[in-house]
Amino acid sequence: MTNTQSQHTSDESPRSGPRAGRLDAAGYARNFCDAHPPLTPAQARIESERCYYCFDAPCITACPTGIDIPTFIQRIAQDNLRGAARAILEANPLGGMCARVCPTEVLCEQACVRNRHEDKPVEIGLLQRHATDAHLSEQAAGSGAPLFTRAPSTGRRIAVVGAGPAGLACAHGLARRGHDVVLLDAKPKLGGLNEYGLATYKTAGDFAQREIDWLLSIGGIEPRCDQQLGRDFTLDALLADFDAVFLGLGLAGVNALGIETPPLEGLRAAVDFIAELRQSDPSRVPIGRRVVVIGGGMTAVDAAVQARLLGAEEVTMVYRRGPASLSASEVEVRWAQTNGVTVRHWAKPAAVLGEQGRVTGMRFAATAEQGGRLVETGETFTLAADMVLQAIGQSFVGDPIEEPLDAPVGASIARVGGRIGTDDDGRTSHPRVWAGGDCRHGGRDLTVEAVEHGKRAAVSIDAALRDGTLQTTAPVTIPASTPASLQEVHRG
């Protein structure tokens, strides 16, 4: 993708402020197509042959879901795309989305031994996309047997709250094991951040929903949208109706700037801007001429780059610390810069400037690090802006699970560090509640990590249901033997 702007001459209009339709149709089409186009079959073949098929491969260790990367790549090289997709999706049912959004440069591809050889890793992410896309397309076209089928029904029911990557992975894992899942989400569509929180160019062609369609095709998962915990139902009610509950609530809160934020046109949360762009035709999304994005994470990058792609003339990302502390990876930052985003460090918001109800700029206080602490240097500067996007992080909103629970222990769900505390398998302080994804304490807020949380929680819930350690409302017969197709997962 290029950041070529196709601007209308009317853009010279003196009126500043967010406005839709800054580009012509071709400009939108060009800017919001696949940012990193898929490999052609020939490219995939050549790239797959670069894999050394390492022993105990470091890339596998680096993958939070432990995908057997050399195996799937070898299968691509051997013209066995179905086998490649199986190797990926067995470990990561959202392998298609992860292939698009994983910061592979700090995960599998960073661990690739080719880096030590020639400073150029195997393109694992693109190869993973090649294999999973092929399988999803085949399945969508109705050809080829499904890779995964359900084990005989156990009659057990589990509520999965939140249909983001963690909830989806958990639901899939439970459905495979023969349990019945009700998948609840507060939003009108399933997917969580996959559907609402990623840059449009990362998941072009409505991929998030296509992947969810595939994931649900296993059966046994009943989606219920527009169902918000605390508003439409309570945890207590779920515990009364279901054998177990998985919480994949994500981070519903947007961190405040820590300064006064008057209600001004043009001042908004980056996550809302990104979500609106995902749910709309880009040509209908208003964008300012001068946009300031506050923050240094992937959300900030996604917002800043898309601001440029919508036709903003100047986009500045401002981060309060130095490059070393940025949570966006180097590759992400380079991507922003390539798209014409100016990245400024060492400045924190001091005041939002506005006139007549509209944002006109931001004043920043210059910062520095002294003895490990961030301090203001006393200098300030102002950036003119008709749009300011806040992207300084999201936070867990725990209100819906705040109430003490009735059964069986009368306790609330314990928190650690402001999020839900769990063991490695995602089990919370409540014996019938598991949690995973960004709402769980101790992660790096990565999609792929959320998938692993959901996957492991499904294994743990299944094991607990089978060994009878869960109090249940009604005795249910569970098949004595584990289906062969699932044994590997159990061992893992």
Partner: protein, 450 residues
């Protein structure tokens, strides 16, 4: 600059690279293009009796490819020339006149019948060609008609036809050998006994390239049926090198000139054939994969190699490695090597570990102080070279020879500086006494050098 000019059985050429008798040398237009590109000579595609043979008008070739789609093996079912004898003879004469400094050798295949050879030989001589090569090697098609490999597999036929050729023609006679036999020394000896001036080898190997797994038909196929073809290209080079060396070190064929053929693609391949005793080399597959221009890289590379090693001519390289080819029983069982992994260039793929663990001697560890680290365990290493052979990074795993007196940690014994082979080993039920054995080894060495 080293002198690349070559004289092989009296035939001069500006370099030792000839195009082998094959599709690239079928016609005047091809051979002219080859000479323009710089080839030292050609062996014109095999002539036979009129009426000409008929080729299939479908796939004649198929390849085996490495993962990166480089051709490593080529199979063909093309027969000898399918053009009238007269046409070929006229073109040969014309090309030789136009390119007098290049070697023009004509490949021949007619039935095992003295009159047939008596008829064709003078016609070839009249073209002004420099020599003849007897095609006793093609394994497909013609062999069903009692020619090609069918002749090369019967030493008596080889000897008889070589005698006829030497009787009815003044041209140097090269006998091209088939590898589709058990011991290549026998046909070579027969060629020599028949008075042949040289042998060339190897011709192609019987092969089926694969199976179309959708149609379940062999490949290549003609209208659904296939027939084995002749296999050549880089994959056959090791087979060819062994056969060249076997003939070069056979006392009964010692000194018989050899034209080396079989997968020569780079100057290194050529240098290896020459070092094992070939006087020149013939090339086909590489030209069929990359075109004629490669001869320039062959010449340049060989010339630089000779210069770098202080050799002034190709002749100085010829046979230099032949004396190192021995029977297994002559190998020094007291010599001990261990693999060594260079930790600076190791990329930690771990393949050396897993192959040693799974298929060899469990002699490479995978961790050190809890970290990924690959290191040879001298107490287990038998020096097999598997790790060296499969390591993706050149020169990262190397073999180190233990010095005499050094302790071999695997056996706990000091390394002997003495040469000792199987013939004297206590485990050998047929062991001879040491002094007799070393005498025999010394004799063999001298023969090898001679």
């Amino acid at each position: 600059m080293a002198d690349l000019t070559s004289t092989f059985v009296g035939i001069k050429s500006p370099n030792p690279f000839w195009l082998a008798s094959a599709p690239p040398t079928d016609k005047e237009i091809n051979v002219t293009r080859a000479f323009e590109a710089g080839w030292g000579g050609v062996v014109w595609k095999t002539l036979g009796e009129d009426p000409a043979v008929v080729n299939v008008s479908g796939p004649r070739y198929a390849t085996l490819m490495s993962q990166d789609r480089r051709v490593i093996g080529l199979n063909n079912i093309e027969l000898i020339t399918d053009r009238p004898l007269r046409t070929n003879l006229e073109e040969i004469a014309r090309v030789k006149r136009a390119w007098p400094d290049r070697a023009m050798v004509v490949s021949l295949m007619v039935p095992v019948d003295e009159m047939a050879w008596k008829r064709i030989l003078p016609m070839v001589e009249d073209t002004g060609a420099d020599g003849i090569e007897l095609n006793f090697g093609c394994p497909h098609g013609m062999s069903e008609r009692g020619m090609g490999a069918a002749v090369g597999q019967v030493p008596e036929y080889i000897q008889r036809i070589a005698q006829w050729c030497k009787h009815y023609s003044r041209l140097p006679t090269i006998v091209k050998l088939t590898p589709n036999i058990t011991d290549v020394r026998h046909p070579a000896r027969a060629a020599k006994a028949g008075g042949a001036d040289a042998v060339s080898l190897i011709n192609t190997i019987n092969s089926i390239m694969g199976v179309d797994l959708d149609r379940l038909t062999m490949l290549p196929s003609t209208d659904g049926w296939g027939s084995h073809g002749g296999y050549c290209g880089p994959a056959v080079k090791p087979i060819a090198l062994n056969m060249v060396a076997e003939i070069a070190r056979d006392p009964l064929t010692a000194g018989l000139p050899i034209s080396g053929i079989g997968g020569v693609t780079t100057w290194r391949d050529a240098a290896e054939f020459i070092a094992l005793g070939a006087g020149n080399v013939q090339v086909c597959t590489a030209a069929m994969v990359y075109g004629f221009k490669i001869v320039q890289d062959l010449c340049d590379g060989l010339s630089n190699y000779l210069d770098a090693h202080g050799m002034r001519s190709v002749e100085e390289l010829r046979g230099r490695a032949t004396p190192t080819v021995k029977d297994w029983k002559a190998l020094n069982l007291n010599h001990v090597e261990k693999a060594v992994i260079n930790q600076d260039s190791c990329i930690q793929c771990g393949r050396c570990h897993v192959v040693c663990e799974d298929t060899s001697h469990q002699a490479i560890s995978a961790t050190k102080d809890g970290r990924r680290h690959f290191e040879v365990k001298d107490e287990e290493c038998v020096g097999c070279n598997l790790c060296v052979s499969i390591c993706p990074v050149p020169d990262t795993i190397t073999m180190r020879a233990l010095r005499p007196g050094e302790i071999d940690k695997r056996t706990g014994l000091p390394v002997s500086g003495e040469y000792a082979n199987w013939t004297t080993h206590p485990n050998n039920p047929g062991a001879v006494c040491a002094s007799a054995a070393s005498g025999a080894a010394a004799t063999e060495t001298l023969q090898g050098v001679a």
